[in-house]
């Protein structure tokens, strides 16, 4: 049966235009800083801005901390659920999906009221504590993606046999978890990690409301005050996102599952 290819081609062409034109326009705009000629001045200015460096560094550390804590939280949980507590699977999956249901701004609103400086667990008292709180809120934000990635990886390997093999060789559970299970789900962990990085690096709402010097609020500040730097920053952000997704594909090749960005 022969089907017409005109419709699909039109869809692809219109789609390509809609998605590529803003990128070209943003790039072109970012080059306009010098009157009458194109230059990379806006990029040079952004890169030399100490606030850019500080906030980018801060958000990079935040995302690394988020990834480490998220992995330490999710991998053992997915492991025990798979191995010994399958009856808890439903409730755990429900909990990991909650951050998709509760808007981030509502979550952080709850934190601000629950953990304010006069509460039972003051986490907004000083900068370090607030940074820790921000890190935990990022762990919550990335939980759906991290858990799904790791859980898919965990289902693809035979957790039970691996555990029994290690046990019969005399391994205790920390050894099993860190030296047997972790290496076997490292592809899943990596794809969860890069997705987390892509989410955390430019996150605005939580960082802004917790008043931490992160990259997202910096972007917003520049956007409100400058003309040519914002498009330069947008191009950089797009390249970072692209790199994260590229790494996921690169490492995920061969190991199916954990589709990018699917919810």
């Amino acid at each position: 049966m022969k089907q017409s290819k005109v419709g699909p081609w039109i869809a692809i062409i219109i789609g390509t235009l809609y998605f590529v034109v803003p990128l070209i326009a943003t790039f072109e705009f970012s080059l306009r800083m010098r009157r009458g000629e194109y230059s990379f001045d806006s990029y040079a200015i952004v890169l030399a801005d100490p606030r850019f460096q500080e906030s980018f560094l801060y958000s990079t550390f935040q995302s690394l901390a988020t990834i480490i804590v998220g992995v330490l939280l999710v991998v053992p949980t997915a492991y025990w659920i798979q191995l010994r507590l399958p009856r808890l699977r439903g409730i755990v999956e429900f909990l990991t999906l909650l951050p998709l249901v509760i808007p981030a701004i509502c979550l952080v609103f709850g934190y601000l009221r629950l953990y304010n400086s006069s509460s039972w667990l003051p986490m907004t008292g000083n900068d370090t504590a607030t940074s820790v709180l921000l890190m935990f809120s990022y762990v919550a934000l990335s939980l759906p993606y991290m858990y799904r990635a790791v859980d898919t990886g965990m289902r693809a390997i035979d957790v039970r046999t691996l555990t029994e093999a290690a046990e019969s060789l005399g391994a205790k559970w920390p050894t099993i978890l860190f030296f047997v299970i972790f290496p076997n789900v490292r592809v899943a962990i990596l794809s969860g990690a890069f997705l987390t990085f892509a989410i955390v690096i430019g996150e605005f709402t939580m960082a802004s409301l917790l008043d931490r010097p992160a990259f997202g609020p910096y972007l917003q500040l520049i956007g409100a005050n400058r003309a040519y730097e914002p498009p330069a920053l947008a191009i950089m952000a797009f390249m970072i996102t692209w790199a994260c997704m590229g790494f996921i594909q690169l490492f995920g090749r061969g190991a199916r599952g954990a589709a990018i960005g699917t919810v």
Binding site: Y18, I24, R84, I105, C106, A140, I260, G261, V263
Partner: protein
């Protein structure tokens, strides 16, 4: 799927400590539940309880009633409008793109390209997305300039503003469409070739195939994904805030201002505002899960 065995079944080496193994497992998942309690359940519960309390902590429904004042109703309405339009448009365009890439009979290299780009674009949101659309459709943006230069047509004189509801919807589509493509591609893969062939042998036209075979199978996925897109746009704030400042009266922007400075002059009304948002996204996600369970039956 061999992991359904319960706790008591099997365990060669566990005769000595069947119970302690389970105890270890419970200790192992305890941090996760503690985290969920502290950073998901309690904060939400706090907002929920606060919505039904007055300033002195007594039970009241006044906050919920106060949500129905014109300013707040309008904020909810604007948010719902932006989310619904961007979800429906995103779903339609995303459907055609996914269809073209998956089963349009186009060259093979197109599909991985479309999927990869969708992965990137669906994650390209927040503040940078606003910058991109300002640079594209802003008063001195490239597309604006292009229309003036080549068609002698100013979209701004024609009434378009990038800092507007439609400007925001156009920007939201940049992540809504790819998200739809990502969700829908697997569902389209689930349409079996035999169904199309069988209907063709029975003399069905292409239209009849879609009307009586494909769409009935796909509609739970389509509708479910649309609902997900809705919730996705409804809770978003960064793009809107960076694009329009506080010009657009979205409920997220309203809540943001409330958290920063109690602009409603009523803490508990703020909780109710947040609770109303969770109520709406919760309802739509519930509908999504229900539809998802229906679509899974066919697309296994």
């Amino acid at each position: 799927m061999a992991q359904q065995s319960g706790i008591a079944v099997h365990q060669p080496a566990a005769t000595r400590s069947g119970l302690s193994q389970v105890t270890w497992a419970i200790i192992g998942v305890a941090p996760f539940f503690l985290f969920a309690l502290l950073f998901l359940i309690l904060p939400t519960g706090f907002l929920f309880v606060g919505s039904f309390q007055d300033a002195d902590g007594n039970f009241t429904l006044i906050n919920i009633a106060n949500l129905f004042q014109p300013l707040i109703l309008k904020a909810y309405w604007t948010s719902i409008k932006v989310s619904v339009i961007s979800a429906v448009l995103g779903a339609l365009v995303g459907f055609f793109l996914a269809y073209a890439a998956v089963m349009g009979g186009l060259p093979r290299w197109l599909r991985p390209m479309v999927m990869t780009f969708s992965g990137v674009a669906s994650n390209f949101a927040g503040v940078p997305l606003a910058f991109a659309f300002l640079a594209t459709l802003g008063p001195t943006g490239l597309v604006t300039a292009f229309f003036i230069e080549y068609f002698d047509f100013s979209i701004y004189r024609a009434g378009f503003r990038v800092v507007s509801t439609w400007g925001l919807i156009l920007a939201y589509l940049y992540f809504q469409i790819p998200l739809m493509v990502l969700i829908l591609a697997p569902a389209l893969d689930g349409l079996k070739r035999e169904w199309r062939e069988a209907s063709a042998i029975l003399g069905a036209s292409s239209w009849q195939y879609w009307r009586y075979v494909a769409l009935p199978v796909l509609w739970p996925s389509l509708l479910g994904a649309t609902i997900l897109l809705f919730a996705n746009a409804f809770g978003a704030i960064a793009t809107a805030y960076a694009l329009t400042g506080s010009l657009l009266n979205l409920v997220t922007i309203q809540l943001y201002a409330q958290i920063r400075g109690d602009v409603l002059h009523d803490q508990n009304l703020g909780y109710a505002l947040a609770f109303g948002m969770i109520f709406i996204t919760g309802l739509s996600n519930g509908a999504y899960i229900w539809l998802r369970s229906r679509s899974d039956r066919w697309l296994r």
